[in-house]
Amino acid sequence: MRRTLICFGALFAGVLVLFVWTLVSGPVEVSLRDIAVAVFNPSSAEPFHAKILWELRFPRAVAAVLAGASLSVSGLCLQTVFRNPLCGPYVLGISSGASLGVALALLAGFGFGAVGVLGAAALGAVFVTQVVLVLASRFKNASVLLVAGLLVGYFVNALVNVLVAGANAESLQAYVSWGFGGFTRLTFGAIPGFLLACAFGFALVLVSMRYLNVVRMSDDFARGLGIAVRRSRVLVLLGSSILAGATTAYCGPVAFIGIAVPHLAYMLFKTTNHRILLPGVSLCGAFLALLAGLFPVSIPLNAVLSIVGVPVILYVLVRGSRQGGAL
């Protein structure tokens, strides 16, 4: 109990510090004082500072927090539902779906009108996830669905490859740059949409808390404890795909967080109770994403996450297993 409180306190403080740090760091010098003035006394603030804060750095910090938390929650849920520690938001074809949407928009020249590239990514993610979810409702066994999700992913990736092969150099570059992922694409006006999608996804996951806590044993065990397994599974998968789909749409495919953060949270909190794990992974994910976002924009986000994150997580895993934590 004490351990849990300390972990939550430390993580919360860490997220807060990194959030503010994100606001004051960047190529242009804007001090903490300038930021405070821009927030609390906008009328006397330098318009230039306010512009940098609200149009660049605040959306960037918000994107990092929401993306980190969403991907982590999505990863945790998928690892729990499939009882597989290798699961991440990609197994349901979410990222391949988003890639397909973007590839259609950028490479094949489909306009997608007002929705733009973001909308194309979101539509692709939602469409492919729906296909997998329809499959999900037909299977009693969760591991069959895992295979189905991976197969759909291969299929969609093959379509993307066909588009890539036929694309010209210019549009190919735009596509590749989207594929790097990043928190700088979110605009101030888009924050409410992103926030709403995340809140909806979180809500779907939260109402299935009992299912998440018992399904680790087996579907039958969960039924024996009064859980409507099939309905809960669809709710959780839908929530997870909305979380990961929204993030992929707004930030591009962000690797690593979804699969690694749940393991980090297990090690920190030493529990399998999702009442603690869900807020725990959210904070861990937000912390890591903010940290990675502090690196110069010239280095791709996914590269930063993997180069900095993998050694840290490996260290935590190795140390944890030496202390007798089962993995």
Binding site: M209, M217, D220, G224, G226, T271, T272, N273
Partner: protein, 244 residues
């Protein structure tokens, strides 16, 4: 004594054309322990699943305290049912990283609200069942690291924390040594006597069945027979188990 669980014209199995048994009636009384016996593959586990409401019968019905366990509209909802009956099985894969206490606490899931919290009353039930099965000594250890015998007792503690009226156990002494098996059956007897539970336990041991059960049910050649334990040998329902 009054009937807790009642089976009427029951035919159970997985495929309609291939029931495990002819139709039979059976009533499990409050406060009694019934041993379920039969050869491998005769359908003991299938019958227990049918009694637990997890598998629809091919024909007939199963009711607990007068309400059907398979009909979700007129009978129990899943959650109501899970407060009435628990099926403890040994073939579960122990979950990674889950501690003994966390696992026993899962037994309170049917009583939890939407966010799966545990009340003081829940914690009391968890402590009581851990004490009863003598597992509080390793409350903080991961279930996956326990020996099979320890795990059996943890699984039973979880089922008891569920506070059900009908407790079904599928070969609980498969992994237990002789003293632990005796202790397990004594615990079952005590639960039946003190809490008025109706307990049905499948086992391959004629010795334990004769010593600890009130009645013995045998599935043999598609026929279900029940006799008082004191009378089982005289009635010849255990003849199939003889070596000669």
């Amino acid at each position: 004594m009054s009937a807790l669980l009642q089976a009427k014209d029951l035919q159970f199995g997985y495929a309609v054309g291939m029931p495990f048994s002819q139709a039979f009636d059976f009533a499990l009384e409050s406060g009694e322990v019934v041993a379920l016996m039969g050869e491998n593959g005769c359908g003991k586990s299938t019958l227990l699943k049918t009694f637990a409401g997890m598998l629809r019968p091919i024909a007939g019905s199963v009711a607990i305290e007068g309400r059907d366990v398979h009909d979700r509209d007129l009978g129990y909802t899943m959650q109501e049912l899970s407060k009435k009956v628990a099926l403890m099985r040994m073939n579960m894969v122990p979950p990674d990283r889950m501690t003994v206490r966390e696992f026993v606490s899962l037994g309170r899931t049917p009583y939890a609200g939407i966010f799966d919290g545990r009340s003081a009353e829940d914690e009391k039930a968890i402590d009581a069942s851990m004490n009863l099965l003598d597992v509080q000594g390793y409350a903080a250890r991961p279930v996956s690291e326990l020996s099979d015998g320890e795990r059996t007792r943890v699984y039973l503690a979880e089922a008891i924390a569920q506070s059900v009226d009908v407790l079904l156990l599928d070969e609980p002494n498969a992994f237990l040594d002789i003293p632990r098996s005796h202790a397990l059956f004594r615990t079952l007897r005590a639960l039946a006597a003190q809490r008025g539970m109706g307990i049905m336990v499948s086992t391959h041991s004629v010795e334990y069945a004769l010593k600890y059960a009130d009645r013995i049910m045998v599935i043999n050649g598609g026929v279900v027979k029940v006799a008082a334990a004191s009378n089982a040998e005289a009635e010849g329902i255990l003849d199939w188990a003889r070596a000669d």
